[in-house]
Structures are given as structure tokens and as C-alpha cells.
Symmetry: C2
Subunit: 206 residues, 2 copies
């Protein structure tokens, strides 16, 4: 009984690894089965097709990615500048924990846009409401001279860019960075601080 759970689970774990790393097209069901230590007939027994196995992975990943992006818009109860700072910080931490996720999601959406259209648009609508409130807060804070007037969507793009790109492009950037990325822990700390500093300067009244 726990053996069934076990094999199914083993396949899921191996599949997640393979799909996240190589994408749908690059992943091989035989390779997943091998990594999970089962025959590849077992994979088809539990999940029928590669497609269905993939869906199990991608749906979950899409959800946590969306959730983290909402979280990046910060805790509404905080004062606006604090809220933005905290949003960047928690989003950065999430990406550190899931460094392969953004690239996976982006590639997936690009290769099969139709599949995610509905789910994606739903997230879009949720985000839209949050934007509106946040924009209002920003406008008011700007009027009070507490921060710079700025378009919240533009700000959001900047935050996503700074927090995500490093990880999406890690193997590309790393050889161009010499010592800088050698010590991972240290780099992550510095990078997080840099992203926050960059955005804070962008929104601070000059």
C-alpha cells in the first residue's frame, strides 16, 4: 500500500526533476522511469501518458508561481514603501527556493499558450484588482511627498526582472561574473540587497 504510494511518488519526483530541467520536449519518459527506479511500463500504468504525467507537474507549478507573484505585491496592511520592500524580499526568497521554476513556466507558456490562457487570465484579473488599490496608495503617498509617482505595473515589471532574471539566466551569467557568483550564499544576500536598493531608489522622492 505504501509501496504503491511510493512508486507513484517516486515517478512524480523524478518527473518533476526531468521536466523542470529539460522541459516537455526534452524530457524522456524512459529517463524518468529509470531515475525513479521503475520500469517504464509502470509510468504508463500510473499516469497513462507523458502528457498526463506532465500535467500533474505543471498545474501545481503554475499555481505556486502565480501565488508567489501575488505575494510580491506585498502585504497590504504595511505602509506603502515597507510593503514594496517586503514584497521584493519575499518574492526573492521564493525564487531562491525555486530557481528553475520561472524558466520552466515561461518556456511552457511559450510553447503552448492556449493551454494556460484561461488560468492565466484569471490570475490577470486578480492581479488587476491589486494593481488598482496599490496604484491608489502610491498616488496618495506620492501626493504626500512620501515617494515618487510611478506606474505600478512598470514597477512590478522591474521587480520581476531584477528578482527572476539572475536565476533564469544563471548558467549564462555565471561564466561572465568571475568571482562574484562563486560563493552562492554571499551572492544571494548581496543580490537581494541590490534589488531592494535599486527599487527603493527608484521610488524614493529625490
Amino acid at each position: 500500500m505504501s509501496d504503491k504510494q511510493n512508486k507513484e511518488q517516486l515517478i512524480l519526483v523524478a518527473a518533476e526533476q526531468e521536466f523542470l530541467c529539460k522541459g516537455y520536449d526534452g524530457a524522456r519518459t524512459t529517463s524518468i522511469a529509470k531515475a525513479a527506479g521503475v520500469t517504464h511500463a509502470m509510468l504508463h500504468y500510473y499516469f497513462r501518458t507523458k502528457e498526463q504525467l506532465f500535467e500533474r507537474i505543471v498545474d501545481e507549478k503554475f499555481k505556486i508561481m502565480s501565488k508567489s507573484m501575488l505575494a510580491a505585491l506585498g502585504e497590504p496592511s504595511l505602509p506603502i514603501v515597507e510593503r514594496i520592500k517586503e514584497g521584493i524580499s519575499s518574492h526573492f526568497d521564493f525564487i531562491v527556493q525555486n530557481p528553475d521554476l520561472p524558466r520552466f513556466i515561461i518556456n511552457e507558456i511559450i510553447s503552448r499558450p492556449e493551454r494556460y490562457k484561461i488560468l492565466h487570465e484569471r490570475v490577470g484579473k486578480i492581479v488587476d484588482t491589486i494593481y488598482k488599490n496599490l496604484q491608489k496608495e502610491i498616488d496618495e503617498a506620492a501626493k504626500r511627498g512620501e515617494m515618487e509617482q510611478i506606474n505600478v505595473k512598470m514597477l512590478f515589471i522591474s521587480i520581476m526582472s531584477l528578482n527572476i532574471f539572475t536565476f533564469v539566466a544563471y548558467p549564462f551569467m555565471q561564466p561572465l561574473m568571475g568571482e562574484l557568483m562563486r560563493n552562492r550564499e554571499e551572492f544571494l544576500t548581496n543580490r537581494k540587497a541590490e534589488n531592494i536598493e535599486t527599487i527603493m531608489r527608484r521610488i524614493k522622492k529625490q
Copy 2:
């Protein structure tokens, strides 16, 4: 004679489109041949294998990508702040002209790191020299109070992030942006200005 040139060229054009859009794994030689309007035997006749056809594309793309990143480090003859501004601007323009390129290169390097190791490290060394000079200039300008002291590699990562991410993640971001991205020309103009403003504020003495 020009017919040979023609078919070979047609295949290359179709292959570039297919590979950039779908990656090596997702691309199909039959689909490339079809798009080029030739039999797929012709593809093998001119390029022998999918692998070799791919190399023709990827080598060129890797080179222009590297070149554009070097250009992002700006024209050394300019005063430092101007130099950085101009670097961002020209890099952004390049990415606008080649929006699919970064994602293609990143995915390619991730799926076959060994292949690019040498080429990549060579670029790394060139960049390293430029960093050193640029860092010296920044340090001096900072001492004169013209700008903020900042690590040039960190600055470079920020510039790449802001300029590239929007395009890498376009289909992912677009549904989250409502009206903002609807008018492409307008969005690009605003985005470029935003990136420059963000970096300028980051390096300006407070």
C-alpha cells in the same frame, strides 16, 4: 546556381525561425523543410544532420548575443554616466530587434553547457578586462562625487535583468499587464525610459 544558394538559404531561414521559437528539442526537421518549401531530403543533403543545421544557427546567434552584451558596457570614450546610459540604450534596442534571442541562448546553454564552455569563457575573459577598467572609472567618479560607488558586475546584472527579462517572459507577463503592453511601440519607449531611469537613480549620488 542562385537556386542552390536559394534553397540552402530558405532552409536556414526556416530553421532559424523554428529553432529560435521551439528550441532544439521542440524543432522538427520535417517542419523546417516544409516551411522552407523543400523536401526534407534536401535538408539532409545540404546540412547532413539536424545537429549540424542547428550549429549553423546557434553559433551565429551566440556571437551576436555576446557582442550585444559587450556593447551594453558602453562606449569607453564617453563620460562614465553617459557611457552607462548609452550602453543600456543600445542594448535595449538590440533586444527589441532580437526579442527571442536571449531565451534561445539561455535554454541552449542550460541544455548543453559543455558545448559552449570554451566560447563562453573566452567572452568571460574579454568582459573581465572591460569590468576592471570600468570599475576603475566608477571608483574615480565616485571619489569625485559624480556618482555612487557600486560594483560594476552587480550593475551589469541589473541592466541585463531590466533589459532582457521583459522579452524572455513576454507571453508570461503580457496577460498580467492589461492595457500596458497593448500598444507595443509605446510600451517599448516607456520601458526603455524606465530602465534607464531606474539605473540612473541607482548610480546617482544621493
